[in-house]
């Protein structure tokens, strides 16, 4: 019986791995004609005006990076703060409810955040600042930061949960304050978790489609300020995929897909390497 299970699992693994490879091959295959026809240089131009024969996707790459990085800059310190609060800076009775709340947040569908942002956050930004319609980089990064917050908190927390209880008795006996213990001893020891949280949060932010599509405004321009309307690669694919499937406009989407695929793949590879190194280091101890 266990033999069957083993073979079944083996095939399932091979199958899953194959799907990823096929996906990569598929995207490359469809991007190749762009290389062959020399249109690849057009892709890396600053203007997306498909009706005038310009297919630049640089604004979308810039939009994706600006959104992912700014969302991470908001969510990461917040997430780190929540973890420190839970592990000793805040009252102990609050720790469990907060973690439960964060766990609960992972189950909220993205579209709910997007919907709430469209009806609450966007009008708020529109009415309080003279520039822009509210659909902006700022609105999207605030919304997205809430989406990636649980990822960051849960990753750092899982690492601290392994480290803090082991150290607490010693540090308390040595008379080290909580803040010192957390910032000087626990956090450095949790460096893998800290890095992994940042990378995974970034990956999640790059891959999200719906929030950018609903809240960021989708203007294909290089963002000049936080109040500018921006378009991400994911939202770009969602918007353009319905066009005439025989046009260059449509074919350029495969290049966007390939860039996204490579970005998330490298994020995962990076994560794998860090994990590997972290495991080795802990073994030496």
């Amino acid at each position: 019986m266990s033999k069957y299970v083993e073979t079944l699992l083996k095939y399932a693994t091979v199958f899953s791995a194959l799907i990823v490879l096929v996906l990569f091959g598929f995207l490359t295959y469809f991007t190749l004609p762009l290389f062959a026809e020399g249109q690849i240089t057009e892709l890396f131009s600053l203007h997306w005006r498909p009706f005038h024969g310009e297919f630049g996707i640089l604004p979308m790459i810039a939009g994706t990076l600006a959104l992912a990085i700014s969302a991470l800059l908001i969510a990461y310190p917040l997430g780190l703060g929540i973890c420190l609060f839970v592990h000793g800076l805040g009252p102990r009775w609050l720790a469990r409810p907060i973690l439960l709340l964060i766990h609960g947040m992972t189950g909220i569908p993205t579209v709910v955040y997007g919907f709430v942002a469209v009806f609450l956050l966007v009008p708020l930004l529109r009415n309080n600042f003279s520039h822009g319609s509210g659909f902006s980089l700022l609105a999207a990064s605030l919304t997205l930061s809430i989406l990636i917050l649980p990822t960051i908190v849960l990753l750092i927390n899982s690492q601290l949960e392994q480290i803090v209880p082991k150290l607490r008795l010693t540090t308390t006996a040595l008379g080290i304050s909580r803040i010192h213990e957390l910032t000087r001893i626990s956090l450095p020891a949790a460096s893998y978790g800290l890095l992994a949280a940042a990378i995974l949060g970034f990956g999640r932010a790059v891959g999200d489609t719906l929030i950018a599509l609903m809240v960021a405004g989708n203007a294909a321009q290089i963002p000049g300020s936080a109040f500018d309307s921006i378009r991400t690669l994911t939202a770009h694919i969602a918007l353009v995929v319905a066009t005439d499937s025989q046009s260059t406009t449509y074919h350029s989407l495969f290049a966007c897909g390939l860039i996204l695929f490579l970005t998330t793949a490298s994020v995962n590879l990076l994560l794998h390497r860090i994990k590997h190194r972290a495991c080795r280091e802990t073994n030496y101890e």
């Binding site: 822009g132 659909f135 989708n218 918007l239 319905a242 005439d244 025989q246």
Partner: protein
């Protein structure tokens, strides 16, 4: 008073039966003996008409299932050509390239739709010239005070590249002119209505069939975007709405198309603000 509710309810139901039965009896007869499933996808302007037709048919003939999805004109054409749906809706004719790739496609135009520039009901502007609209979309005018409104920035809302609504607005109102890159892009007629109804200083455009009191349609060069003006040719931004099938439609699909184009279907089309084609 005590017996007020029941008799009035009874009367309402009777009235409803009176109005629906005689009309539906003949036009819906074409579905007698047919059963199966019709999948419809594509243009978002078509959805209200398709849903109403589907509801009438499925109420009388429960053995028939009709699903209606959006996706946009390009998706409609591609899906029907690849055999994924039975009817692919499009708010534009089939392009030369699509025609070349999918020679079997057949188009059934069934209605004319107008596309109207729209603003928030709180906006004091109620009319623009096409030159003004072109200047706003190209970025030469960016404040409402330059066109007779409040002193506030104009927030332009545009549609995605796949939109048939965008295509006709760009050709017939913007005269294929440039559009500023900072314009917001929304993905459907419905999303456009939400955006414009929320934003006091918005300027967008949408299919006449989607207009309601949450937004204000603008007069264009002195002509109001109404059904009458579209029929008599005074209002210029109009287009045909198409249903497309891959080759000759199967009997059930044919019955659906005939029903949409029947006198009852025409009433349904007019109800949603479009103009039925004979």
């Amino acid at each position: 008073m005590r017996h007020g509710l029941l008799p009035s309810l009874f009367f309402t139901v009777l009235l409803m039966l009176f109005y629906t039965l005689p009309a539906t009896a003949e036009e819906l007869d074409r579905f007698a003996g047919l059963k199966g499933k019709i999948d419809i996808a594509g243009g978002t302007a078509h959805i209200p008409v398709m849903k109403d037709a589907a509801r009438h048919i499925m109420t009388k003939y429960p053995q028939i299932t009709i699903t209606v999805a959006g996706g946009g004109s390009g998706v409609g054409i591609q899906k029907v050509a690849e055999g994924l749906v039975d009817i692919g809706n499009a708010g534009r004719p089939i392009s030369a390239k699509e025609r070349e790739k999918y020679p079997r496609l057949r188009s059934f135009p069934f209605a004319v739709d107008g596309v109207a520039p729209a603003v928030n009901p709180a906006n004091i502007v109620s009319e623009l010239t096409s030159i003004q609209i072109q200047n706003i979309f190209s970025g030469k005018i960016n404040n409402w005070k330059d066109v007779g409104g409040d002193d506030a920035e104009i927030h332009i809302y545009n549609r995605d590249e796949a939109s048939g609504t965008r295509s006709v607005f760009w050709k017939k109102c913007l005269n294929k002119g440039a559009v500023v890159e900072s314009a917001n892009i929304v993905a459907s007629n419905g999303a456009m209505k939400v955006a414009v109804s929320q934003d006091r200083y918005a300027l967008g455009y949408m299919s006449i069939g989607h207009l309601d009191n949450t937004v204000k349609a603008l007069g264009l060069d002195g002509v109001a975007p109404t059904q009458e003006n579209a029929i008599n040719g005074h209002y210029p931004i109009v287009r045909k709405l198409f249903m497309n099938t891959n080759g000759a439609p199967a009997p059930l699909v044919k019955a659906f198309i005939d029903y949409v184009m029947s006198s009852e279907g025409a009433a349904n089309i007019s109800n949603h603000g479009y103009i039925p084609l004979q």
